[in-house]
């Protein structure tokens, strides 16, 4: 599913410090970038990296740092809000729209000094499809013609991948597909075979990125030094990068205030504190995440098989109050499934109003004038348990009694995917590709694959199919907006919010790009630079 890629990407993007790069001009100031220094960043999604082999990792945490060492065929461009060619200088499309011929750049080198060729791209994609590798990137490669045979162990090579010369190759898809959205993710990085086949590749990665791997202290830090043969002239600016691996927001806060890290992500509480500080508040960057926080409703379990009950829940809760009081405004209220950074987001659409009377009326129409009891499965977090505690009184007011069950993420996921849960709180990846995001309500998509609410509506499936095969972009976007509005109306979830990622940036850290900020823009550490006052210019 494209969702994997997108959600991963979003997660990485949303809070990755590279986001600063694409940020406000006021941060970049008028100075010319200065070379040198060591970037001190944080990989904030976990206590360890799972793998340094980008083909073998599922974790957002790994992809935060992977961008420093690896590159894919495409990359996300924040200014145009779409994937753009990265390792190739051009691509041509066959008349049937299924074959894409790429001309690779002639100046792309691996960290071992060897020039990248078409063989490397083909080998990398074939490796991802190899079942022995168990690569999560396989879903991005599988649409290529013949890839499913490799995945099934019936073939060793992908018939849809053809080398034309050392710098030219073609990709043929089995059916209509968008390679840009499939091949920009870190899990499709291009790797050098001779290095991957060495036994220590998983601990000593070699890639095409702006920094050469230096050292990984498992569970603590990972370092890289500037790659002088990086294909983007003059980049990276910094001599080295050092990621501290942690998910402790309190420690990140202290380290940021002490000037030990150049940027950090903020929790809800820290957002309030930083916002109230005259100095710190000047350098806060708010990024709408490509996630939609919601309460999933199992549409196969009564009473949620009744659309009126689902709509009633959406009318019953004052989401503005929850966002302002509980989440300290570190969220944007949800008006549908697609978030503001999605190209199909409809900024004119209104969210469900807080209307308890209407909620009661809908419940009465559905035959639940005396209400009912519902169990909500949550994780022990602000966005899980905290939100359910906050919405319980609202639901009680319309007659719905909430029974909250707290479990860890794995247990919630299992219950959701098996269909045993009645309702659950979740933050789902919903971008950047709106078709993939909306497929989570496609009748033909299984629960484990994405359709966790088991929503079934042939009319919606048809709308989505039509949008997916429409090549005229404005028409396609319009169709997707309608599909999103349809889902909002059918309410298979309680639409809560789109999380607001908050980045606090030190005054000495600068980026280069200005313009639109989308969380997927980020991750580019090569554009970051430190001014003369940066502590990172004087220490390792």
């Amino acid at each position: 599913m494209k969702n994997i890629k997108f959600a991963l990407r979003c997660c990485v993007a949303s809070l990755s410090f590279s986001a600063m790069v694409a940020l406000t001009p006021r941060l970049a100031m008028a100075d010319e970038p200065i070379k040198g220094g060591v970037l001190h960043l944080v990989a904030p999604f976990g206590t360890a990296l799972t793998s340094l082999d980008p083909h073998k990792t599922y974790e957002s945490q790994d992809l935060v740092v992977s961008k420093a060492f690896h590159r894919s065929l495409y990359d996300w461009d924040s200014s145009s809000n779409k994937p753009v060619l990265e390792l190739a200088e051009s691509v041509s499309v066959s008349p049937d729209g299924k074959t894409f011929t790429y001309k690779l750049r002639d100046n792309v080198f691996f960290h071992n000094g060897r020039k990248m060729t078409a063989d490397d791209v083909i080998w990398s994609y074939t490796r991802i499809a190899d079942p022995a590798i168990q690569s999560p990137g396989v879903t991005n490669i599988e649409p290529i013609e013949g890839a499913s045979d490799v995945v099934a162990g019936k073939a060793k090579t992908i018939s849809g991948l053809k080398k034309i010369d050392d710098l030219t190759f073609s990709v043929t898809y089995a059916s209509f597909a968008d390679p840009a959205s499939l091949l920009f993710d870190g899990s499709t990085s291009i790797l050098p075979r001779e290095e991957v086949e060495k036994p220590d590749f998983a601990t000593h990665p070699v890639g095409l990125g702006p920094f050469v791997f230096v050292e990984h202290v498992e569970g603590s830090s990972i370092k890289g030094k500037r790659f002088d043969k990086y294909f983007k002239p003059g980049l990276p600016y910094a001599d080295a990068v050092n990621f501290i691996i942690t998910d402790d927001y309190s420690a990140m806060d202290v380290a940021f205030r002490a000037g030990e890290v150049d940027a950090t992500v903020l929790s809800e509480d820290a957002y309030v504190l930083y916002g109230a500080d005259a100095e710190l508040s000047k350098r806060l960057i708010e990024v709408p995440e490509l996630f939609t926080r919601h309460m999933g409703l199992n549409t196969e379990k009564p009473p949620f098989d009744n659309v009126k009950v689902r709509q009633a829940i959406n009318y019953a809760i004052d989401r503005d109050l929850v966002i302002s009081k509980l989440l300290k405004n570190k969220a944007f209220k949800a008006t549908g499934w697609l978030p503001p950074t999605s190209p199909a987001f409809d900024k004119n659409r209104a969210p469900y109003a807080y209307d308890p009377a209407k909620a009661k009326a809908l419940l009465a129409e559905a035959g639940f004038s005396n209400g009912f009891e519902m169990e909500i499965l949550v994780t022990d977090s602000t966005s899980g348990r905290g939100v359910v505690e906050a919405i319980t009184p609202f639901l009680k007011a319309v007659g719905i009694t909430v029974k909250m069950t707290i479990a860890d993420g794995t247990v919630v996921a299992e219950a959701r995917e098996k269909g045993t849960a009645m309702a659950w709180m979740r933050s789902a990846g919903t971008g950047p590709d709106p078709v993939s995001a909306l497929r989570c309500f496609d009748s033909r998509v299984s629960r484990p694959a994405c359709n966790t609410t088991a929503f079934k509506d042939p009319a919606f499936d048809a709308m989505l199919d039509q949008a997916a095969t429409t090549q005229d972009e404005p028409a396609r976007i319009e169709m997707l907006r309608k599909a999103d509005a349809y889902i909002q109306d059918k309410a298979p979830v309680w639409f809560h919010n789109y999380n607001k990622g908050i980045l606090a940036v030190q005054p000495w850290l600068h980026g280069v790009a200005a313009g639109n900020v989308t969380e997927t823009a980020i991750i580019e550490v090569d554009d970051m630079w430190l001014n003369a006052e940066a502590p990172g210019r004087n220490k390792e």
């Binding site: 599913m1 969702n3 994997i4 959600a7 991963l8 979003c10 997660c11 976990g46 206590t47 360890a48 799972t50 793998s51 073998k56 599922y58 974790e59 957002s60 079942p131 168990q134 999560p136 396989v138 879903t139 998983a202 202290v217 498992e218 569970g219 603590s220 830090s221 501290i244 691996i245 942690t246 998910d247 402790d248 309190s250 420690a251 202290v254 380290a255 205030r257 002490a258 030990e260 996630f291 994780t379 479990a407 860890d408 993420g409 794995t410 247990v411 919630v412 996921a413 299992e414 219950a415 995917e417 979740r426 933050s427 789902a428 990846g429 989570c440 299984s446 484990p448 694959a449 994405c450």
Partner: protein
């Protein structure tokens, strides 16, 4: 002595075996599996991919079959392969153990070098302000949660005074070690201080101390030659138990300070349901505890030969 050691080792082996069985059964019955942890709270992993992974990792096999597979590997010295990291568990533990040991030794040293003198002082000045202050400190040290103490220490020493780095391993350098060692060592320090005080007070009133004094032995001789040696059996027990439990007790501290030890690894592997890695971590923690306990038992015999005959 040899018999004692053999008896201890046999007891340890039984404990270890029971622990292995318990961990295995527990992780087999609790809900949630590794493949579901991949989806996490935000992502969707392709259903076919999950199914394939489940089969390849033998997750869908019956529990007895998995147990036999695990035990046969264990008997060959093979702890299995981490589901998430795709590397041998033994290799991962070998990489992480030095950091944990370094932290455990430093925290124990901190606890011992501060706790023992404080306990002695408190006992020597029983009923004085020094005694009251020391015991207040000890109770505070035992009561404050490690993460809270760590944050306060971070705030003071890293942010306000800028003496120490907030977090990170820094190749185990002294400046990086101080904060986590203090945080991990503060509760054992308090316990050791209290134990030392109690042990010394008990010894001070013993007949042989009065005898030593009446024979005209100097106070230094009484304290070091008679009092300390006898009190030390109890103190050593406390220190040994505290040191033995540090590998498992460092989970919060290692996470807070980005310390690359076994504790942080255990947290991560539990949340990922990486069962081989969890089993490896727990096995190591238990083995470490049992080893230290056995060594402490051996040390008793050396310090106080009477124990041998009990």
């Amino acid at each position: 002595m040899a018999m004692l050691l053999i008896r201890r080792l046999m007891q340890s082996a039984v404990t270890l075996l029971a622990s292995i069985l318990l961990i295995f059964v527990l992780f087999s019955v609790i809900p949630g599996s590794f493949v579901n942890s991949l989806g996490g709270d935000k992502r969707n992993i392709d259903a076919e991919f999950k199914a394939r992974l489940q089969t390849e990792l033998h997750i869908d096999e019956p529990v007895p079959q998995r147990f036999v597979r695990y035990m046969s590997g264990l008997l060959r010295g093979d702890l299995g392969k981490s589901f998430a990291m795709r590397r041998p568990v033994a290799d991962i533990l070998t990489e992480r153990l030095p950091a944990s040991l370094r932290l455990a030794v430093a925290a124990t040293a901190f606890a011992m070098f501060l706790g023992v003198p404080l306990g002695f002082l408190a006992a020597a000045r029983q009923g004085s302000w020094l005694d009251a202050g020391t015991m207040m400190l000890a109770i505070s040290g035992l009561s404050i949660p490690a993460f809270w103490f760590g944050l306060l220490a971070m705030f003071l020493l890293s942010l306000e005074l800028r003496w120490l780095p907030t977090f990170g391993y820094g190749h185990g350098s002294f400046v990086n070690l101080v904060l986590p060692a203090m945080t991990l060592g503060v509760a054992p320090m308090a316990l050791i201080a209290r134990t030392t005080r109690a042990a010394v007070l008990q010894t001070m009133s013993a007949d042989y101390i009065r005898t030593a004094r009446s024979k005209g032995a100097s106070e230094a001789r009484v304290v070091t030659g008679h009092m300390a040696r006898n009190a030390f059996v109890l103190i050593l027990t406390t220190i040994g138990l505290q040191f033995g439990s540090m590998l498992g007790g460092s989970v919060i501290v290692e996470n807070l300070f980005s310390w690359p030890g076994i504790g942080a690894l255990l947290t991560q592997s539990v949340s990922q349901r990486d069962i081989p890695l969890v089993q490896g971590c727990v096995l190591l923690i238990i083995a470490f505890f049992l080893t230290i306990n056995t060594l402490v038992d051996m040390a008793y015999v050396i310090i106080d030969p009477r124990i041998r005959f009990r």
